[in-house]
């Protein structure tokens, strides 16, 4: 059972990681062109994605985060049905965190749209990076929610008492009053003259 869970979790985490698509190009560090030289920001920080690609990718992120939230809510309902309070607490905590992150992602998406409209490349790159990080965080929370462990492992089961009784001890209760006896004897001969 435990091995199956580990395998399932690993598969899920791996799939969510690989489902991210190519990571956005890292933002290039400022050039060290020498003391006093102005930094060439426009060349070094140019993103590899076009504005349209960023918007499309951010929508994909939003879709993934929504499905992750839906999946965690399913886990939450399942824990409620099973009255598994330990697992429910764990999953609910993930739900809260995912919702906060989705809220941040929604703000970033709105800002990204504005930056694209304004053709503000810096702002656009910043918001897209934030969206990427938030998305990754939500996927990790989804994996953690899947790993929430309930009573199946932490609950050791109902108390079981094994009693060993010496087989020499009789099973019946010898302290009970004896059952009423039945007088079944042949009566003695009353007289030689009678039967």
């Amino acid at each position: 059972m435990v091995n199956a869970k580990v395998l399932l979790t690993t598969t899920f985490v791996a799939s969510t990681v690989f489902a991210q698509g190519p990571a956005p190009a890292p933002i290039a560090p400022p050039s060290s062109g020498g003391p006093g030289a102005p930094a060439d920001v426009s060349v070094k920080q140019r993103p590899t994605l076009t504005p349209e690609e960023m918007v499309n990718q951010s929508r994909e992120y939003a879709k993934n985060m929504a499905s992750t939230l839906a999946r965690i809510q399913v886990l939450q309902d399942q824990a409620k049905r099973e009255k598994d309070i330990i697992r429910l607490n764990c999953v609910t905590d993930k739900v809260v965190q995912v919702r906060v992150n989705i809220s941040i992602a929604e703000q970033s998406m709105a800002a990204l749209q504005e930056a694209v409209t304004r053709a503000d490349e810096g702002e656009r790159t910043h918001e897209f990076t934030r969206l990427t990080i938030v998305n990754q965080k939500v996927q990790v929370l989804g994996a953690e929610a899947e790993n929430c462990i309930g009573e199946d492992l932490s609950f050791v089961g109902a108390t079981k008492v094994d009693i060993e009784i010496d087989p020499n001890i009789p099973q019946y209760d010898p302290t009970q009053p004896p059952a009423p006896g039945i007088d079944i004897e042949r009566p003695g001969e009353a007289s030689p003259l009678a039967g």
Partner: protein
Amino acid sequence: MNRRLALWTALAGTLLVARAARAQGTAEVTIGYQGLPYKSSGESNTGIQVSEGVLLHVGAGAEAGYDTNVFYQNVDPIGSALIRTSVFGDLSNATRTGAAGRISFDARAGVVYRRYQSDNPFVQNFNNAWMPTAGLALSAGGGQFGFGIADTFARLEDPPYNEAQLVPITRYNNQASAEGRWAPGGGRITATLRYTNMIDIFQGTYSYASTDGNYLMLDGAWKWLPKTAVFVNAQQGYIFYLNEAQATANGKESSYPLLVTAGLRGLLTEKTSATVALGYTNGFYGGGVSTGGFWGSTYLDLSATLRPTFLSRIVAGYRHDFQNAVIASFSYNETFYASYVQQIAGRLALDLSGRYSHRNYQGQFVDPVQMVTGREDNFVQVGASLDYFVRNWVYAGVGYSLLNNNSNIPSVEYLKQQMFVRLGLTY
């Protein structure tokens, strides 16, 4: 094979010669020849599962042998070949593991057919006898409160003492009881209130002795160990004769037997159990002659059971009491009994038992001569059987029974022996 140690006889085939030693609760010991077929209460591998929670045990047996003294005579006894067959069925809600739950029932019925095969005309008058038995027990509860009812019926038939008589000794016995049990708290203190009615009807010579006995018993016990208790028991009875005119003509009087005892019953060690009961008893016979004196008013019951191994059991006991008698008002009885049961090699079952009883008859005698001479009988009973279990449901063996009575009245003395080969099925 261990299950066969706790034997109980189911049918009346042995009833005329067997007497249960009522000392060990459900593990009663039957003294005397063990008839066929028998099964153990602890049987776990047999029984037909009729439906969920209903188990049927069935059995059949046949015995062939010789009776040395058909009419219990002391002079020129008449012997005869003898066959006896029996069948029984037992329906209960016990499972094969033995658990019955909080509500249990057990219904059983059987019949014994006995035939004397002889050319003797006296014996031929009593060739055939049918002896049915039936029983029903219901029990509910088991925790703080419990309730149970039971009924047992048996018909017994045996040749008379006098071969010239044409009517056998026939006895119908029905015993019904109802009881309530109360075990407050953790069950250390238990109380049992029981009413028992016993109707005992004779046909033939002893028809005057038909009685209706009513007994009310209250028992209180304190378990100072899980299977060991000290107890106080009080029982009041009322016995009256059904044929008043005949009873009066034979000097029979109603009685109100009282028995108050205290003692110990249960385990002494894991292999040894005992019953010690000491108390006061009085017959309170209506005719003026009743039990009395220090020893005559004393009831004493001592019994010990030892199970040295899983495959053996030894029981020994002594009892001093009085008993309502057919041939007199009552008798003081001193009874010693012993039983030895042994399994050998997992296939052989040996059962040996014996009883000696000294009976000092008192009160109004049916025979006027004995009013003058008095009567003291020394009764000896021995039973032995050795069975080989081919399977756990079929066995074959041999059996032996001895009944001997010595008395200060020579005419009532006798020696009766029966030898059998036997075959039994029980499933």
